[in-house]
Symmetry: C2
Subunit: 468 residues, 2 copies
Amino acid sequence: MLKSILFLFLFVFGLNLSAQDKKEETAFFIKSIFENTMESGECYSWLQELCTQAGPRLSGSVSYDQAANLMAEKLKQIGCDTVWLQPTYVKKWTRGEKEEAKIIFGDKEKSSVPLRTLALGNSPGTPITGLRAQVIEVKSLDELDSIGNQVKGKIVFFNRPMPAGTLKSFRAYGATVDQRSRGAGVASKYGAIAVVVRSMTQNIDDVPHTGVTVFYPERGEKLIPAFAISTKGANLLSLLLKKESLRLFLKSNCQLDQDSTLAYNVIGEVRGIGKSNKIIAVGGHLDSWDVAQGAHDDGAGCVQSMQVLSTLKMLGYPPRNTIRCVLFSNEENGLAGAKAYKKWSDENGEQHIAAIEADAGGFTPRGFTCEGDTSIFRKYFKLVQAKMDYLEPYDLYLKPGGSGADIGILKSQKGILMGLSVDSQRYFDYHHTERDRFEAVHHRELRYGAAALTSMVYLLDGINWESP
Amino acid sequence: MLKSILFLFLFVFGLNLSAQDKKEETAFFIKSIFENTMESGECYSWLQELCTQAGPRLSGSVSYDQAANLMAEKLKQIGCDTVWLQPTYVKKWTRGEKEEAKIIFGDKEKSSVPLRTLALGNSPGTPITGLRAQVIEVKSLDELDSIGNQVKGKIVFFNRPMPAGTLKSFRAYGATVDQRSRGAGVASKYGAIAVVVRSMTQNIDDVPHTGVTVFYPERGEKLIPAFAISTKGANLLSLLLKKESLRLFLKSNCQLDQDSTLAYNVIGEVRGIGKSNKIIAVGGHLDSWDVAQGAHDDGAGCVQSMQVLSTLKMLGYPPRNTIRCVLFSNEENGLAGAKAYKKWSDENGEQHIAAIEADAGGFTPRGFTCEGDTSIFRKYFKLVQAKMDYLEPYDLYLKPGGSGADIGILKSQKGILMGLSVDSQRYFDYHHTERDRFEAVHHRELRYGAAALTSMVYLLDGINWESP
């Protein structure tokens, strides 16, 4: 409370400060953000509640609703001016009973080797007795195109590894994830009856990584069963295929509802003292895969975004613009939350002068990447870059780059869009697996990221965006 | 092999390249360093061998000798021009039988509460039956000075926490470690019979952290028993002391040999094509505390330094200067290894134009801090800074700052001294505890650090230090 009054005092009377004094005040405020967040940020305990009380929470599930209510409650406790649940409609996908994958030896299935597997999100189930077919290995969609109808009636095995030599793990992911996201759809056009995909990780281990696969029926694609197998399993299968032709047995029980289910975006805001339609948003996605507690992906980004509001409130900061925390639904398998939010925001005549997404795991932050409509990007980038000296003591950079899956579509509102960039070396140990649990997040790394986000929001709020 | 020839070709014929071509060649070589190290760097498996085959290795111990031989063997396999063991003489300290600490309630010791504890390095043992005395809490050496002789015959309890609000963990450590390193010595002058010290970590848990304590008998200090207790234990003791006066029971069986024991520095080098006395050294310390596998502290720094030579050899790089990997003995409790190395180097008329120490844990690197004799520092800093664009894609900074405990004394040779700076948020989960095991190091983070070191050594080797 004392602190709140102190800062309110500083800000109200700060209007007459000299340029040098203002710089010192800004640096001091950022120091306070870091000290307070590192010492007593609540984000870590919120994450624990989210992961253990709501748990895995694919949008449309009961636990997703629990998570939404839990987080809304926290946002109210923080002291937001408004907290609300925004309806979005999602296609609910369920995994059903545990899936199975086996390598079958011989025509009469005399022996088999089980493969650790997870069905891919949005994929359909196999027949109830499973399916058996010859498996053909390819390294890429291009290779699949080159062999085309040879895969008819067969199972396609996509086995291009995420390159270990690529330092930045998200870049390695980006270079290989097409196999998972589009492999099944493309293979179906050539008559394949199922696909298995090497898991998206640079590790060699026995942990399968799920993730969404996307079908375009309007392009003639059929929904066929799709599975991720572990990297060890993929290596084994590939090795065996060098010696002989093999069949796989696959069984899954997934279901994708055709009806839409309600799943809420959770939104809290602190209103600015300036124009009411100018927004600075910070957010993550509240949904997670059904096999994971979603601690890194993306409970971390959610609780860090909530921490932004909490710390600014606690320090008594009166924002110029409306600062809004948005927890999106359905990032993992449809982006319905992002679309609903954008539509609503447009209809209300809002402009997001800035939005930041935190969806790369709760690891030590390295900085921010940013993008924006070409009409404003160079100018806005320079305005933010001019503030980066304040973040130098905290080792945070600003670079052009992507923002996030949920906020990317806000580009038409002509603000600057940012992604919190974090150390990515451990991310694919956890991503879309049962290992993505609360214990995998470090309290100090999570808080460091939250302090970075808060500082950036504070700096963005201090920029005169109309300046020539 | 193909690669070796390729790079040799590039380097031999590279002498006539244009400035732009040279820049591209340098960038390409650094890219190769990162790709090769991340994909197939051996440092991670070397670390596993060091941690599990030699294990805990305080200098003077049998396992230290095993570690020295093991690492020397690896340096030979790498293909160093010379590998040798350099004798250094250390005072061997042993913990002996497991130590004990208890809070005693009442005069007749009707009840007691055990505290998790580790004796501090270089401290003497208690009497064989232990010791019992009243405990007095202080927060600092200054507070101890202010109460002075009141501690006579008593146990001093140092309880100033490592501040959680301080983002950079080493800074928080630096602000509090005087209690551990000097508390016992200073308390002995006021007649205290023992000390207990709150463990050096920002966590609140039940893990005691050992570390060295230093006595100066020449200043009238006596060697008295000294213990670290866990932060939870410290909080409990402090809470109880607010209500009543308490005694502690302390028992330890430590011994510090008066005779010197042989403990080798391990050195390997690849000779340069230029003057033979110009050295670029990279190193860490091979000794670890007796309770720890010393994975982060500092097996990581050792194997990363070895990786530098291995990668440069593998890529066929012919260095201008002699590139040397030095694994120091006795960093933890005496620095005898560093002193012996410096003396030998001076006697041989060498100049370390640059030296880098890696001793902050095997975490993701953030950059390099550097220092040097004032007569050369500004010039040398600028020469290195001019190369930092090459490391920008790998998110590595260069800042003025400390180098390392082992190489700091090389300053008189008037080269630039650097420390590999890494993400420090998790370091004090492990530092000087039984938790500092191989499993605590991530393969990609370790390799990232090794690639950073290799790239810096390569850049340093390319600098014309004589330039005006």
